[in-house]
């Protein structure tokens, strides 16, 4: 990428830059996609906890499939939906590792629901980053389990009809009912204050694993401007007005 070492006059100190755990590779996400923010926040948390050398990420299938290019840490790319199962194996084989999966709603909440539920129920000491953008991004904007009632997608062109396709799946609420998990929270990425809260939640999710506390899942409500067919700003507005009422924010389960 282009060098940013342009002329910084004397008397200024850098207060924001790219985290060390993020590689120099440009992301393959679309313009305005919240995946980029989530990807950066995880890198910042890895830096802050000083765990880069022993962290292994599990990349999903979906828009974040190339995640291993974007980080400076080890990665395994799991088959579609299997990230929590792969994470379980890695963590059990080598408990010294810090293992996180990063999955979208198509990966985690559709084909991978079983793996997710059972990893949570077993209380595996892993951290799951769940990006809920209410749609299938990479494959062309089809309905996801998390798609809102009435939401237009390429497979629900007249809006999602709950009578035939069911309701938006509330994974975090489901998992919070289980005895296994330690920390289940839902945050959003639509503006700077919420990004700061999301970062704090991710920090807790990773810190829990460092302290051996068990299963943490941080759901991040995110936008997919390309497949929402909206400008990034409009997509943010839509998240606030449409998505957040269906996916209320906050901690759903916190166990010390």
């Amino acid at each position: 990428m282009s060098p940013v070492e342009t002329s910084i006059p004397a008397g200024y100190t850098k207060v924001f830059g790219r985290p060390n755990s993020l590689s120099d590779a440009p992301t393959t996400y679309c313009p305005g996609c919240h995946h980029g923010v989530a990807t950066r926040l995880v890198a910042e948390v890895i830096d802050e906890l000083g765990i880069q050398e022993r962290t292994v990420g599990i990349a999903p299938v979906g828009c974040a499939v190339f995640l291993y290019r974007f980080y400076r840490c080890d990665f395994v790319q799991a088959a579609h939906g299997r990230a929590c199962a792969v994470a379980t194996g890695l963590k059990r084989a080598n408990p010294e590792l810090i293992v996180f999966s990063y999955q979208g709603d198509g990966d985690l909440a559709a084909i991978g629901t079983a793996e997710t539920v059972h990893a949570a129920n077993r209380g595996e000491n892993i951290t799951v980053v769940f990006i809920n953008n209410q749609i299938y991004g990479m494959t062309g904007g089809e309905m996801a389990p998390t798609t809102l009632a009435g939401q237009h997608t390429t497979t629900t062109p007249r809006g999602r009809d709950v009578a035939t396709t069911g309701y938006p799946l509330k994974i975090s609420e489901m998992l919070a009912q289980l005895d296994g998990p330690t920390y289940i929270t839902r945050q959003s990425l639509h503006d700077a204050p919420h990004v700061a809260k999301a970062r704090k939640a991710l920090l807790t999710g990773f810190q829990n694993q460092v302290e051996g506390k068990g299963f943490s899942l941080v759901e991040l409500v995110a936008s997919c401007p390309t497949n929402f067919k909206m400008s990034p700003q409009k997509a943010n507005k839509w998240l606030v007005e449409q998505a957040l009422p269906a996916f209320p924010l906050g901690d759903l389960k916190v166990r010390d």
Binding site: K14, V15, F16, T27, V37, A192, Q233
Partner: protein, 79 residues
């Protein structure tokens, strides 16, 4: 000297406009320039208004923005 300063990596910028819309002080705007991927890149049109609040950098999905803050001694001298 302005309290803050942004440096935007033009090659990383995807021209999403989120920083332009989010800056509380109207510092940022789209430039006339397009990068090698064809994206219309953001720029600091009113750098003198920057407060180093980092709102732009917090929401840039491409981590294209660096923020610099004027050191205390300097800001006293400039006032």
């Amino acid at each position: 000297m302005p309290k803050g300063m942004t440096v935007i990596d033009k090659e990383r910028c995807k021209g999403c406009g989120l920083c332009v819309a989010a800056c509380p002080f109207g510092v940022l705007a789209f430039s006339e320039e397009h990068n090698s991927s064809g994206y219309n890149v953001a720029m600091a049109q009113h750098p003198e208004k920057c407060t180093a609040c980092m709102v732009c950098a917090q929401i840039c999905p491409d981590v294209a923005i660096e923020v610099y803050r004027l050191d205390r001694a300097e800001s006293k001298g400039a006032a």
